[in-house]
Subunit: 504 residues, 2 copies
Amino acid sequence: MIFKAVRVPFKSGRYAVILNEEDASELGVREGDRVRVRFGRTGVVATVQITREIVERGFVGLTDLASRELGISDGVEVDVYPSPKPKSVELIKKKTRGEKLNQDEIRKIVEDITNNALSEVELTAFVISSMLRGMDFDEIEWLTRAMIETGERIEFDRGTVVDKHSIGGVPGNKISLLIVPTVAAAGLLIPKTASRAITSASGTADTMEVLANVNLSVDEIKEITEKVGGVIAWGGATNIAPADDKIIRVEHPLSIDPRPQLLASVMAKKGSVGAKHVVIDIPVGEGAKIEKMDVGRSLSNDFIELGRRLGLNVMTAITYGGQPIGRAIGPAIEAKEALKTMEDRHGPSSLVEKSLGIAGILFEMTGIAANGYQHARKIFESGKTLEKFREIVAAQGGDENIKAEDIAVGDKTYTLTSSVEGAVVSVNNKSIVKIARTAGAPKDKGAGVYVHKKRGEVVKAGDPLLTIYAEKEWKLDNAIEVANTERPIVVSGMVLEVHGKRGV
Amino acid sequence: MIFKAVRVPFKSGRYAVILNEEDASELGVREGDRVRVRFGRTGVVATVQITREIVERGFVGLTDLASRELGISDGVEVDVYPSPKPKSVELIKKKTRGEKLNQDEIRKIVEDITNNALSEVELTAFVISSMLRGMDFDEIEWLTRAMIETGERIEFDRGTVVDKHSIGGVPGNKISLLIVPTVAAAGLLIPKTASRAITSASGTADTMEVLANVNLSVDEIKEITEKVGGVIAWGGATNIAPADDKIIRVEHPLSIDPRPQLLASVMAKKGSVGAKHVVIDIPVGEGAKIEKMDVGRSLSNDFIELGRRLGLNVMTAITYGGQPIGRAIGPAIEAKEALKTMEDRHGPSSLVEKSLGIAGILFEMTGIAANGYQHARKIFESGKTLEKFREIVAAQGGDENIKAEDIAVGDKTYTLTSSVEGAVVSVNNKSIVKIARTAGAPKDKGAGVYVHKKRGEVVKAGDPLLTIYAEKEWKLDNAIEVANTERPIVVSGMVLEVHGKRGV
C-alpha cells in the first residue's frame, strides 16, 4: 500500500514505523510485525508500532534511523507491505534446537543483527540459545570473524600494533590511562577503543572524555595512533564490530554475558583495529564479573585459543578484582587520580602495579624487553608516561598542559566516617558503584566516590571511610541514603567478642 | 524527577513512557530501561522510549495502557524515577541456569507477566529457557495454576461443565461450530472460549463472528451458557488467563510453541471456565502443528497427566491433520460450510465425523451415552444441532434465522483448474493458508479458499481445484500470484512416465 511519509523523531536503535490502527489492520500486520518500506530504489525492513492518533490514516511515521536510511522528507510517497522474516530467524531456531551453525549461517545472523533486521525477541532468542546450547570453537571463531567483517577496520602500514582489554567488573579500573602512554612511549602502536559505562560508574571512554575528545572516527584513530603512538577513543563512535553493541543491548537488561558472545565481542574489537599482540585483563574476586579463580582460568584458556585461531598473539593476566583499583570511582575523579599518579610518578599500588604489569607483558610479547615490568617501571618513573599521555590528550583535542589539580570534581560532598575502631575487612564493589551512580556518575562527570580506606587498612572511630562527590544536591542526598543502607566498607573491631561479666 | 504528563496514544501491549533525550540522560535511563511513574497513590512501572522532539523537556509521554492505569489527564504532575528490575528477572535467570523453580517463584513470574512488568527481552528469555531447560510436571502444574489464578474465572452453580480444545495447525477446523450445539443440545454446559487467527486464515472466534458477537465478558459467557447450554466467545475479550496471551506474543514471531507453555496455555483456559471434562483434539499430519504420531502420543500423555494433577478429567483425540477439515478456509466461507452442514444434516465427512466423534467422547466421559458417537449422530441428524446453534447465535446477538445461503463471501473470485488428469496426491495446508491470508483472511471476513478436490479424489484436465474469494481486487491478484508459485494441490497423472519412440 502507498503511504505518505512523516518523520517521527524517536531515537530508537531499530528501524521502526508507526501506522494508524486501521491501516495496520488493512495491511494485516500487528505490533512488532515486519514491513518493508520502499522509497524509490532504497528500502528498509522495519517493525510496526500501532497508534490511534499520532499518525493519521494514509500516513506512515518513520523513526530517526529509518527516515535517515531512506533519505526521505515529509510527504513523499512510500510503499509499505508486509515483509517475511529474514532467513536468520530460521537459523536462530536451528541453534535453539541445539544444532551447530556453519560459517555462512553465522555470518547471515551477524549481518542481520548489524542491519537491525532482527527484533528484540529474535535477538534474545539467539543470545539465550547460544548461552544454553553453547557454541564450539569453530562457531565462536566464525562469530568473531563475522563481527569483524561486518564493521569498519583499521590497517596500519607500519609499526607493531598491540592492544589490551579488561573484561570489566571492577570499579576504578582506570589502568588504560597509564598503560596506553607507557606502551606508546616505547614505540609500539596502541589504538585503544574503550567503552562507556553501561552498569559501571565510569567506562574508560567516560574517564578519558574529562580530558579530551573521545568521539573519534576510525580515520582519526588511525591518524592519531600513527602520529603519537596511542589513542584512547570511544569505540561506540566508530562502526567497529557494530553487531556487538546490538547484542550487548539485550544482554544488559538480563545482566548476562554468555561466553561465546563475550569472547567474540572482545576479540572482534581487537582484530578490527589490526592488533597483533593483545593482553586480556581478567579481574577475579568478590563482586567482580568473575568471582572464582577456576572460571577465570578457563576463560583465559578460551581467549588464548580464540586468538590462535584468529592469528592474534594473546596473553592473559588474571588480576585481583575484589575491591576497586586505586581509590577513585567516577569520571573526573578517576581522571584526576590517573593524572596525579603520572605527575607524581607514584600512586596507589593497585593502580601502578597493575598498569605497569600489563604494559610489561606487552613489552615481553613484542620482544622490547626481557623484563617487561622493569622496562615499564623505568618509562613510568622517568616521566615519559606523563609526557606521552599529554601528547595523546593534545592529539585528541585536549589541553596538553592539564594538571591533576585543575580537574574539577563535584562540589557537593559528603564523607562517611567509621563508628568503630578496627580494620577494613571488605570494600564492596557493587555498593561503591551503586553510590557513585546514584550521585550522578557517569552522566555527571564530577560525581563519584573516593575510598579513603581499603581492605586491611586500620581505622579509628571517626576516620573517613569514603567521600561522595556530586554536582547536584538531590543526587547527593539520594547517594547518602544508598550509602547508609548498603555496607560499602566493612570495618571489624579488633575485639570481636567479649565473654564473662563486666564490673565487680 | 517531577514531569508534566502528556498522553501519547500508542496502542502498545506494554506500559511505556516517552522521555525527551535530555531528561532521560538526566535520570540516567536508556531506551528499554524501567522507570516507575507515580501519580498520587497509584503507580506503574513502564519502559522508556526516547525521543528528540515529540515530548519536550519536562514532560513525560504516557501511552494508552499506562495513562489509563494511572487515570491521568494531560498536564498533571507525575513523579518519574528509575525502577529496579522486578524480582522475577532473577527467577528467570534461575531457569536459564537450569534450576527448578518452586511454586511461589513461578507465581511471581506469571504475576509480572500479567502486570506487563517484564520487557520483551526478559519474557523471551523466560520462554526460551523454559523450552531449552525444560520444566517438570510440578512446574507445569504450578504454571497452569498461576495462569488460572491471575485471571478471571467462571464458576457455574449447577450442571456438568465440559469443554474441548484443538491445539491447531490444521486449516478449516470449524468443528467447534458443530460440537458446541451438539453437546449443549444434550444438556451439558460448554462455555467455549476460542481464539482469533494469529497465523491461520481464521480462528474459531473469527468464524463465529460472521454470525454473532464474540466479544463477550466473563459474565455474559456464564449467563448465555446457563441459558442455552453453550457459547462460542473470543477468549481475548475476557481476562481469562491473561498471562497466556502475553506469552504467545513472543512465541508467535519465533513460531515456537514450547511444550510447558502449550500445556499450561490450554489447560489454564479450560480450568478457568470451570470445565470438569475436557477433550483435547491433537491433529497430526504433514503441514499440521504436530507432524509425527509419536510426538502426538507423548503430548497426549502430558495433557492427561496435567489434567489429573489439576483435577480435570481429560481425554485426547489424535485426529488426521494432513489436509484441511471440510473444504472451506476463511471466516465467512467456513461459517457458511458449517451452517450448511447443519441445515443439510450432512456434509464433508472430515468435518461431520470429526465433530461427532469429539462430541461423542464428551458424552461418554459424562456418562450421557455408552456409545457417544451414535448419540451425537442422532442429535445431529435430528436437526437439534442446528436448532441449538441458532439459539446460541441468537443469545450472542446474531440473527437466529440466518441461513447458509445468506452468508456473503467475497465477490472477487478466481478458480484454479487442473492442467492434467489424475488424482490429488496432496493438499498443502500451509500453501492453502498462505493463499487465504493473502486474499485478505481473516481481516476481510469474505476472503478465503474453497478446495474442490481433496486427497485421493480423481481430477480431469480443466476441473476446478480451488477457488479463491476476496473482497478486494488487489488482494485477489496477490493471492493468485501466491497460488501460482506455491503448489497448494498436487495432482499426479495416471500415466507417470512414457518410454520408447512415439510415431512410426
